[in-house]
């Protein structure tokens, strides 16, 4: 089964640490045996030294009683150190592997999965798996050895008493079986109500402006109090249930111990046992009962572990759609000639987005794409950057099919500016440098000047070293857009892609940026998507897309000359309203 194989794939991350793990297993066994000795020693002291007055045995026994804890401490130290080493390193390996895998996955994958969920898998689930495989697995081993030894020892001391002990273990199992269903149910209903509570707060906090302007604070407080009370009531339920369970457990344990102890004493009175036997027996009984108690805790952890490993496997099973072809060409800077040959594309089968797109763009040309929302403007550009592969047809860069180019070197040809500015919480300089880490401060400043943001950056307290997202620094959407424009310019790309890059700017600043961009655009190919006509009028070629095909193409004047042209219609409307975007609905 594929799932099984993937589980083994994760276990495979343990391979470098197999010797450490093997050592830990050996030490654990040793440790378990050592832990079994003190009751025997105590029995010997009570029976032999005190009971029989055998003073000669006292000193060797005393030596053993001192030596055993010391030896146990050494073994235990070795075990902890080995486990910590293997466990944490394993966790790091899994995380780095998973992160690398995630970064290579396609946009389609990220569209389907929220960031929060992915972060939880990367950080939370991996540590569950790491913890289970390193720490808990040894607990299981040691528990199994421990109970095996304890069972053998108790049967050897007195088999009838041992049967009573078995009965106590059965009682434990019964208690667990009886309560576990209820425990799960109340736990689940609590977490559901907790999710509702936290979802509610999140919603209220993010829509804080609306809450305030409608004066709904009191109302929201009442809603919150209701939700909070429900969640707390359910939490109380869950706590009470688990408390009952633990109280039952401790009652069974204590009563079991007292029955065993006093029966043992009765046997001593009858002369069938010594008191030392009773002490040892009781100690072993405890050693058998603890794993039995731990088992219930363990069962839950194993459940968690299985869920976590499944969720990680799911991500690892996700294949990067854009697979690197063996023998792909690494290329240096290209000239920027682009050619689309009969490109077809669909996100979902049966709903084509691009239907036979043909276009040849010479190096240095500026091409503008316009058309209604959903006509495939942005899709064409993502295909060009190979975020997706075409369904059929070919895209060539300087005559080379994009599939044949090494992905990283292909992507380095582009400088992109998207509608929602994606900036990182590092300094502005680092943001600008993101695409080209080697850029000098002068390069960055030049780029910032093109994007008309240099003066603003200089007005900040730390200038280019101001960290974005720190307190007191609030960038407007327009300012963020300008920083992303500067970032794309600083990348010094062969092809510049601007997808609604200036939508949040006022016409005035947009105009200024356009003038500056003309200098930058020299010698570069550029694709511009916009819904304001003023943005695209100076393009070398304007392409009107409709339903995934080119409906009109040409310079502004040429398109305006078409009597019933779509462009002309849009332009006329723009002149009266200021926008040309059509609502698809």
């Amino acid at each position: 089964m594929a799932g099984e194989r993937l589980t083994w794939h994760i276990v495979g991350f343990l391979k470098p640490y197999r010797w450490v793990m093997a050592g830990a297993v050996v030490v654990t066994m040793l440790l378990t045996v050592l832990a079994m000795l003190p009751p025997l020693l105590m029995r010997a002291v009570i029976d032999r030294v005190v009971g029989a007055g055998d003073r000669a045995s006292f000193w060797p026994l005393a030596l053993c009683m001192v030596a055993v804890p010391v030896l146990a401490a050494v073994c235990s130290l070795l075990q902890s150190l080995g486990l910590a080493y293997a466990g944490w390193r394993f966790l790091m390996d899994v995380r780095v592997g998973l992160y690398q895998h995630l970064l290579g996955l396609s946009m389609r994958f990220f569209g389907k999965h929220s960031t929060g969920m992915l972060v939880n898998r990367l950080m939370g689930d991996s540590s569950t798996v790491g913890n289970m495989l390193s720490q808990q697995s040894l607990t299981v081993i040691s528990d199994v050895i421990c109970s095996g030894f304890a069972v053998a020892a108790t049967f050897a001391i007195n088999w009838r008493m041992a049967l009573i002990l078995v009965a106590v273990v059965v009682l434990f199992a019964g208690n667990w079986k009886l309560n576990i269903g209820q425990l799960r149910r109340v736990g689940r209903s609590y977490w559901q109500s907790f999710d509702r509570l936290s979802g509610g707060i999140q919603n209220r906090l993010s829509a804080n402006l609306a809450v305030k302007t409608f004066g709904a604070e009191q109302r929201e407080q009442r809603v919150f109090e209701g939700q909070s009370a429900t969640a707390l009531e359910l939490l109380s339920n869950a706590n009470t249930t688990s408390n009952t369970f633990w109280m039952n457990t401790s009652l069974i344990q204590n009563l079991g111990r007292s029955v065993i102890f006093f029966l043992g004493c009765a046997l001593v009175l009858r002369g069938d046992m010594t008191y030392g036997d009773v002490v040892a027996f009781t100690a072993y009984a405890m050693q058998l009962l603890w794993p039995a108690i731990r088992f219930s805790e363990m069962a839950r952890q194993i459940q968690d572990f299985r869920v976590a490993i499944e969720r990680i496997s799911e991500i690892l099973a996700e294949q990067p759609e854009i697979a690197a072809k063996p023998g792909a060409l690494p290329v240096g800077r290209l000239k920027g000639g682009v050619r689309f040959e009969n490109v077809h594309f669909h996100y979902e089968p049966g709903r084509p987005v691009i239907r036979g797109f043909d276009l040849e763009v010479a190096p240095g040309e500026t091409v503008a794409l316009i058309g209604p929302t959903g006509c495939g403007k942005s899709t064409i550009l993502t295909l060009l950057m190979r975020f997706y592969d075409t369904s059929s047809g070919e895209i060539r860069l300087d005559g080379l099919p994009v599939q044949d180019l090494e992905l990283d070197s292909l992507r380095r040809q582009f400088g992109i500016v998207l509608q929602d500015p994606l900036l990182f919480n590092v300094s502005i300089a680092d943001n600008l440098r993101y695409a080209r880490p080697g850029a000098t401060r002068a390069d960055l400043e030049a780029a910032a000047r093109v994007a008309e943001i240099h003066d603003f950056i200089m007005s900040l307290p730390d200038g280019y070293d101001t960290v974005i997202g720190s307190e007191g620094i609030q960038l407007s959407t327009g300012q963020k857009q300008r920083i992303t424009i500067a970032r794309a310019v600083a990348a010094d790309p062969a092809i510049l892609i601007m997808d609604e890059a200036t939508s949040a700017l006022d016409s005035e600043s947009e105009h200024a940026i356009q003038l500056a961009m003309q200098r930058v655009l020299k010698g570069r190919t550029a694709f511009i998507v916009a819904h304001r006509l003023s943005t695209i009028r100076n393009a070398d070629r304007i392409i009107v897309l409709k339903g995934g095909v080119i409906s009109e193409m040409g310079r502004h004047e040429e398109l305006m000359a078409l009597p019933d042209g779509h462009y002309r219609m849009l332009y006329d409307r723009f002149m009266s309203k200021g926008v040309i975007e059509e609502d698809p609905a």
Binding site: P38, V45, V50, G51, G53, D54, R55, A56, S57, A62, M65, V66, A73, L77, S80, A84, W88, R95, Y99, Q100, L103, F110, G116, A156, N158, L197, S198, N203, L209, V211, F214, G215, A216, E217, S228, T240, N243, M247, S258, F262, C265, M273, T274, Y275, M385, L407, I416, L422, F424, Y434, E471, G478, D506, E508, F574, M575, S576, K577, E581, D583
Partner: protein, 661 residues
């Protein structure tokens, strides 16, 4: 164990806080406000837990009675003892014979029944019946068994009850604290919310509150019981035998010292770990959010390296902590084992052999000594537990103590509805806390009642801030806003917000149905009113295309809306409240021209006679307004009727030219 600093430069440093300052006052305050009302329940819990702690000693004492008075396990009388001793001496002299073989005389000496070999194949020593067992030994044993079992069952019952009380009390305290924090967060001003992310506030309301409640109650109850347990244990030890007591207490300081030595490193590494961990979370969520940019610039190898570096820091801290805690715990375990099993047990045995102590007393002392180690450790780390608690407490106190920037004045008046004279802004200035440049500077504007003012200007000139000031979401730094001559800050907040409606640029929706969302501002609107508002916002037709129309769920579990749809919803929401004063913040920017035109016409119809301040980039909207103000660098650069501004040839005229040509 030294920390590893090599990779720390790749991670922002951890800020150090002065943990102790004002700690006592803080504890006192939270105890007074949240725990004191439940003092009876807490006292009850503490008493019951103390009882439970002491029951351990009762049980141990019962065991002692069994051993000494029922089973009568004791060494042979002195005569046998001295002869045995002589025998041991001979054995020693004779050469190292194994101790088990023992002197043969001892085996044969007592008179007793011969028993078969059982157990581990070892012949059972019959014990020395030099002291006869009491006559009704079995009966006494049964009685003690009943007492023992009864104590266990009784304590178990009491503990169930105590747990219930504790759970209820904890629930009440959490509820109380959570409600206070949430209320405060709801009341805090917009600028507070802008600088504190939702995620951070959320974790305050949920996790810090839980931590405070758990730790505060547990610390309180457990510490009382532990102190009682230690005191009783020490008394018992001394009562049994002062030498054993001294021995046990002599080990204790070393035991505590081991943990005291290790603890700072554990704490330090713990802080470093959580810092690295939150860095990792931050890094990962940010990069996965912007994975498009990462891939577009082909920076995966770099990102992997960055992740690897911080992971390595995290790993080293983890290993550091694991090493330290392994050493500390093992040493501690060894010491406590040596102390109880070694020192107390062996010395006790020797004393028993000498006849100074009975076996039962020795076992009792050993049990008491063993149960001292845990509580002593806990008590000696009271300050650490409190420091952890203090972190959460301080975060909560920060929120509770945050001054309410915007609140009702003592003699606030209701909003003067309907507005007769209009709005006037006098010398209005504003800057965001913590930033140098003022956003708005000396703004003077008048909006007559029923008039529409259009605010235009480049991005970042403070248009949105102006609207937020009008809605009193921020408090101006200087100057004032007057409604019919009444300063805005003198109007009751609830009344003000009831009479105005602000439609923000970025519309937010609540999880819930479309209908719930539209009637958010006026929860008791009739369906007809809701539909009328949706029609006015050109949203009705779209809603009708949905499967269950107005009952369609939005948000997390429902459908998601496009930017334009959200804007229309938010406009409908505002129109439904039938506001006296309408504030529109470029709320049609994501709409197509045709819809926008229709909305503008509807607005002109239904808002006729109402006062409005409208931020817009569109000439078509500006033309409908009575006055236009153009903002530039936080001041009013142009002001007048559309015709006047067109004639003046400034920003507005340029915009006009660009958009109409």
């Amino acid at each position: 164990m030294r920390p590893h600093y090599r990779n720390y430069p790749f991670r922002p440093p951890r800020r150090q806080h002065d943990a102790q300052a004002g700690a006592l006052a803080l504890f006192g305050r939270f105890l007074r406000v949240y725990v004191w009302p439940h003092r009876r329940a807490v006292a009850l819990c503490a008493t019951l837990v103390c009882l439970e702690a002491c029951s351990v000693y009762v049980l141990a004492w019962l065991t002692q009675v069994v051993v000494d008075d029922v089973l009568v396990v004791s060494p042979p009388p002195t005569a046998a003892y001295s002869s045995a001793r002589a025998a041991v001496a001979t054995v020693r002299v004779a050469g190292r014979q194994p101790a088990e073989s023992g002197p043969p005389r001892l085996r044969d000496a007592p008179a007793g029944r011969e028993r078969p070999a059982i157990g581990l194949g070892r012949r059972i020593d019959q014990g020395w019946s030099h002291t006869p067992r009491p006559a009704g030994a079995a009966g006494i044993l049964l009685a003690i068994f009943l007492a023992y079992t009864g104590t266990i069952a009784g304590i178990n019952l009491l503990m169930r009850f105590a747990a219930r009380v504790r759970i209820r009390t904890g629930q009440a305290i959490t509820g109380h604290l959570r409600e206070d924090i949430h209320r405060k967060i709801m009341l805090l001003s917009l600028s507070y919310h802008n600088t504190h992310t939702a995620g951070r506030l959320l974790s305050r309301v949920l996790w810090d509150v839980n931590a405070v409640q758990d730790q505060m109650l547990n610390t309180l109850i457990n510490y009382i019981s532990q102190v009682v347990m230690v005191l009783v244990g020490v008394v018992i030890l001394f009562a049994v035998d002062w030498r054993l007591a001294c021995l046990a207490l002599a080990v204790m300081p070393f035991y505590v010292l081991v943990f005291k030595k290790g603890r700072p490193a554990i704490l330090e590494s713990g802080h470093e770990m959580s810092q690295s961990n939150s860095c990792l979370y931050g890094l990962v969520s940010q990069k996965l959010d912007a994975v498009r940019a990462v891939q577009a610039y082909g920076r995966q190898p770099h990102e992997r390296l960055a992740f690897h570096r911080i992971s390595a820091v995290y790993l080293r801290d983890c290993l550091w902590q694991a090493r330290t805690s392994a050493w500390m715990n093992r040493l501690g375990e060894m010491l406590s084992a040596l102390g109880t099993n070694g020192a107390v047990f062996l010395t006790g045995t020797w004393l028993v052999l000498d006849g100074q102590l009975t076996l039962g007393q020795m076992l009792f002392a050993q049990g008491a000594a063993a149960s001292l180690f845990g509580p002593v450790l806990q008590i000696s780390f009271l300050n650490v537990t409190l420091t952890n608690l203090l972190v959460s407490l301080r975060r909560l106190a920060d929120i509770l103590d945050e001054p309410l920037e915007i609140d009702d004045r003592p003699n606030a008046v209701p909003f003067p509805a309907p507005v007769r004279h209009g709005l006037s802004l006098r010398h209005l200035s504003f800057r965001f806390p913590g930033s140098g440049e003022p956003v708005l500077h000396d703004i003077n504007l008048d909006v007559p009642a029923g008039g529409w003012l259009c605010v235009m200007g480049a991005s970042g000139t403070g248009k949105t801030t102006l609207l937020h000031l009008l809605a009193r979401l921020h408090e101006p730094e200087a100057g004032e806003i007057l409604v019919d001559g009444v300063p805005l800050s003198n109007i009751r907040l609830e009344s003000l917000r009831h009479h105005l409606a602000l439609v923000p640029q970025e519309a937010r929706i609540f999880s819930g149905s479309v209908r719930d969302n539209i009637c958010y501002g006026s929860p008791d609107a009739s369906p007809a009113q809701i539909m009328a508002a949706a029609r006015a916002a050109e949203f009705h037709d779209f809603i009708l295309t949905l499967k269950v129309q107005y009952e369609t769920l939005l948000g997390e579990k429902g459908i998601s809306l496009s930017g334009g749809q959200k804007q229309r919803l938010s406009l409908a929401r505002a129109l439904l409240t039938d506001p006296e004063l309408l504030l529109l913040d470029d709320c049609t920017s994501a709409l197509d021209a045709e819809t926008e035109g229709k909305i503008q016409e509807t607005l002109a119809r239904i808002m006729a006679g109402k006062t409005a301040v409208i931020v817009s980039q569109r000439i078509s909207m500006a033309r409908r307004c009575h006055r236009i103000a153009v903002l530039q660098d936080g001041t009013v650069a142009e002001y007048g009727t559309p015709a006047e501004l067109l004639a003046r040839g400034g920003f507005y005229a340029r915009l006009h030219a660009q958009q109409t040509e």
